[in-house]
Amino acid sequence: MTPTLTKMTKVEVVVRGDEAPAVRELIGSVGATGYTSLSGVSGLGHNGYHQGRLLFNQQATLELIITVVPNARVEALLAGLRPLLDASSGVLFVTETYVSRPDYFS
């Protein structure tokens, strides 16, 4: 039997390693229950190519932070994230998602 799925919102943010604490704090402050982060991501973007993992510098590389929140919390989270991203290089993706255990996310 297919489990019942609950619609929620997935927010993915890519920022420099030294900006990541600000994003994590914001995620926590709007009541999100957790996040997943992936450090040392590389890629090509608005500000050119970004090197991935550097041997002795974890602050200058990019970090991908993913969180899932109930729809009611999206607006507040985006209100906080937007100014952060306006002031630094980084990208934000917001997509619909479905979870099977909604109590984990709210």
Partner: protein, 866 residues
């Protein structure tokens, strides 16, 4: 008309969402506002930082002007100091002309002026203005909070209260702040209304502050009439009032709960709002006016002044506009940067000429290779050791690529021994060596007893009644001991050392690295050896030499230790790396990657004490008998090198007689290291100005005067540029922090320097205050950068000198935005060449230029910017 329940619920939800959004936006604004704050590490792990790191996305010139607006800080030395340096020949006419024409290339096309019957080139005129033009006052803080503008005494009260409660919460006082466990804001909210030093009405107002700190900040902003689009700027104005406390709170917040900038600002804004509401008294005169802030003189006035100074007062009215037109190209506030560029240019040109003109010394087959930290102080040790014979030396970051959390034999909290750019990846513990027998047990027991006695002494000093009993019980011995420590520090230092060794004798220990996977051990070994270009021709000894500094009664001890080891001594890292490089399985793997360490090579660890210039070989019990003679020779040569270096350093150490014999100099510096009244134990990295990346042949034989970081690099063993990228994105970045820390502690000592050590009060492990109240002091103390009126640190931005293919450098810069920022925004100047004998080239945003070329304009900022 009443709302239906559904509409009311919807409205409430909308209001709640709006409030949540406003709170979230506030958190972001605080983070953004705090970007201009320096990072403030606690004293125990003091790490040099660029206090303007948050402005590094701006060109340097623009960043220092922005800092002037925010803090009222200077961005360069005053013009009067530059003029003194000119008089001493440290800046020449040629340096000034080069700086002028690099900034204004059109000056070269300007025809000579006829003024008062004399011909004057445009550059001569501007040079005269630099030398004789009227100066302007230091910058004043322009981004101010409400009460700063209308009632400065209220701003002072807000600061005093903020400093008091911050110290109470963070300062590890004998009596902890009541309610501390509930967090800063909650504890403050409970206590502040009971503060009888405030008027009753203000206390009542404070009693009504919001439960949540974000709501308290928003209420404060609303009460003070701060528009939402000005919120960030206003918060920044609050944070920059006491940048020391704000910076420390920010550092603490990302590491442990209890306090953060939101709570700190909630306190400040609540005070400001309450105090202003009940403030009686008229509006204050504008502080800018009070301080005599004036618009810079107009070009015509400057022209008249200059012609008078030059004795050309007979210039005609018709000639004046031409002179004024030329002067207008160089606004008065921009002059300091011309001086700064000329000052740096003088050193840069001299260094590059020295590097080009000296005869390269062909590498010898060395019996010993010594790898030291890149720290500028290692340059002196390397130079003197190389002078002893067949030694080859290398420079690498002093953590030797092993990022470890180290627990010593006494099993305290592990120390994070790695650059702050990364996290420690392995736990390394010190264990008794099998042959240590009962000595290790005695060491631990003795150290525990000593720590207990020290702790009891300090607890008694800080308790309420304890000091009276302590004075009765221990005063008879403490007073003579204090007198003896002051009168004869060397003798008492030696006695204490012997006593300590008796109670807690040194025990042979070993470090176990088996918890590290072999692949990672091999990676560390490869990273070290390949980066410095040491892949063959190994001698009998390979010495990994970390460094630390010993001084007494010095809260800034960590600033003298190894920055690459998190502001601590580098011995454990050197020992760990030596263990790894001696392992057969590691050497087997290295051989597969083309690094063949022969069986006759033994890797040993050593430690350079930069205060005494004594180098100690560590873990001597692990040295095989076959290499004892080699180590004896090394020890002898290190003693000679250390003494020679001590004699060299005595030339500039305050209170040290010049031209001491090496033996006397060594005795003198050893005495300084145990003198509790000595505020100048050593000069640390004062004078740092360049970072050289290349083989040692590039610099060997040149006295670089301990001003250069030296990172070894062999371009021919780094074809894919990985090693160069590692050097540029980590050691160079840390060196630039150090460079900027010294720079701003010198040019803006009031804001980014810690003031004189003689009035410092230590606040727990947090920092120091000058006196008993006020802000935490940032940066380095005065005794790290100057002696009296004499600058020991000449503030210059870092010059990176690289010997590597230019295309490889470009590739690394292109894929690392941090380097584009540092190089493109003039925080670091880059000079490079691929091979010896080639001319040096300058990196610019538009491509490589000849170093001597003046027609490569630096970025010129519009008038509004400057």
């Amino acid at each position: 008309m009443t709302q239906t329940p559904a509409v009311a619920s919807k409205t409430a939800l909308k209001t709640a969402t709006e409030l949540d959004s406003r709170r979230a936006r506030l958190r972001s604004d605080i983070r953004l506002a705090a970007r201009v704050l320096p990072t403030h590490y606690p004293l125990g792990t003091f790490i040099a930082v660029n206090p303007l790191a948050g402005l590094q996305n701006m060109p340097f010139e623009q960043a220092i002007r922005r800092a002037g607006d925010l803090y009222g800080s200077c961005g360069t030395l005053p013009e009067s100091t530059f003029r003194s340096l000119y008089d001493q020949g440290r800046i020449t006419d040629a340096d000034l002309d080069k700086a002028l024409t690099r900034r204004y290339p059109n000056l070269l096309d300007e025809p000579p002026l006829q003024v008062g019957g004399r011909r004057l080139a445009a550059t001569e005129l501007l040079r005269a203005d630099l030398l004789h033009g009227a100066t302007i006052p230091d910058p004043l803080r322009r981004n101010r909070i409400r009460c700063e503008e209308v009632a400065p005494e209220v701003a002072d009260t807000v600061d005093a209260q903020s400093a008091k409660w911050s110290a109470a919460f963070l300062g590890e006082a004998g009596w902890p702040m009541p309610g501390r466990e509930g967090g800063f804001y909650s504890a403050w909210r409970d206590l502040a209304p009971t503060d009888r030093s405030l008027p009753r009405a203000v206390r009542a107002e404070l009693r009504a502050t919001a439960m949540r700190p974000d709501d308290a900040v928003l209420a404060g902003l609303d009460a003070l009439g701060v528009a939402e689009d000005m919120q960030l700027t206003y918060l920044q104005a609050h944070l920059t009032r006491l940048p020391g406390w704000a910076a420390h709170v920010q550092w603490r917040a990302d590491r442990e709960p209890g306090i953060n900038l939101l709570q700190y600002l909630a306190m400040r804004l609540s005070y400001e709002s309450a105090l202003l509401t009940h403030h009686r008294g008229g509006p204050a005169d504008d502080a800018l006016q009070q301080a005599g802030w004036l618009e810079p003189p107009v070009a015509r006035d400057r022209a008249a002044h200059l012609l008078t100074v030059l004795g050309m007062a007979e210039a005609t009215e018709a000639e004046m506009p031409t002179v004024a037109r030329i002067l207008a190209a160089l606004p008065v506030p921009a002059r300091a940067m011309i001086w700064q560029n000329a000052f740096e240019g003088h050193y840069h040109d001299q260094l590059l000429t020295d590097l080009s003109s000296h005869q390269r010394i062909a590498p010898v087959q060395a019996h010993t290779q010594l790898v030291t930290c890149i720290d500028t102080r290692s340059e002196g040790l390397r130079r003197h050791l190389e002078a002893r014979g067949e030694y080859e030396t290398f420079g690498f970051a002093g953590f030797f690529a092993v990022a470890i959390a180290f627990t010593d034999l006494l099993a305290g909290a592990p120390a994070q021994l790695c650059p702050v750019l990364i996290s420690a990846s392995h736990d390394i513990s010190e264990e008794p060596a099998p042959e240590s027998g009962s000595i290790a047990v005695r060491r631990v027991a003795g150290a525990t007893r000593l720590a207990g006695a020290e702790s009891a002494f300090h607890a008694a000093k800080e308790s309420m009644a304890g000091p009276f009993a302590l004075a009765e019980a221990a005063g008879w011995v403490a007073a003579p001991l204090s007198a003896a420590k002051t009168m004869s520090p060397s003798a008492i230092g030696g006695l204490r050392r012997r006593l300590r060794n008796l109670i807690s004798p040194a025990a042979p220990t070993v470090l176990t690295v088996d918890s590290m996977p072999l692949t990672e051990r091999v990676l560390f070994a490869q990273a070290t050896l390949k980066t410095i270009g040491l892949t063959r021709d190994f001698g009998r000894l390979l010495v990994l030499c970390g460094h630390e500094s010993s001084s007494e009664n010095n809260p800034y001890q960590a600033s003298l230790d190894c920055g690459a080891c998190g502001g601590q001594g580098g011995g454990p890292n050197a020992r760990t790396a030596a263990v790894i490089l001696n392992q057969i399985e590691v050497r087997d793997e290295l051989r597969r990657s083309g690094i063949d360490i022969p069986g006759h090579t033994v890797v040993i660890a050593a430690l350079h004490d930069t205060t005494t210039d004594q180098v100690t070989v560590l873990d001597t019990h692990l040295i095989p008998p076959s290499h004892r003679t080699d180590v004896d020779r090394l020890n002898t040569d290190l003693v000679h090198a250390g003494r020679a270096l001590a004699a060299e350093r005595c030339d500039i150490l305050p209170g040290a007689a010049r031209r001491r014999s090496p033996t006397n100099a060594a005795r003198h510096v050893a005495g300084r290291s145990v003198d509790w009244a000595q505020v100048y134990p050593e000069w640390g990295l004062a004078g740092n100005a360049a970072f050289i990346i290349g083989p040692r042949e590039l610099t060997r034989g040149i006295d670089l005067q301990r001003r250069t970081f030296l990172h070894s690099y062999g371009a021919d063993v780094d074809l894919d540029g990985t090693a160069l990228e590692t050097i540029l994105t980590a050691p160079l970045v840390v060196a630039q922090w150090i460079n900027c820390q010294y720079y701003f502690s010198t040019v803006a000592p009031e804001v980014f320097g810690a003031g004189t050590k003689t009035i410092h009060n230590v606040v727990g492990n947090v920092g120091v205050m000058a006196g008993h109240v006020g802000d935490l002091r940032l940066g380095l103390p005065q005794q790290s950068v100057r002696h009296g009126d004499q600058l020991l640190h000449e503030p210059q931005r870092l010059l990176a000198v690289i010997e590597a293919p230019l295309e490889r450098i470009d590739t690394v810069i292109e894929r690392n935005p941090i380097l584009q920022q540092l190089f493109g925004n003039d925080w670091v100047t880059v000079a490079a060449r691929e091979h010896p004998g080639q001319p040096w080239r300058r990196w610019t945003r538009t491509g490589w230029r000849d170093w001597t070329e003046t027609d490569c304009p630096s970025v010129v900022y519009n008038k509004e910017m400057i």
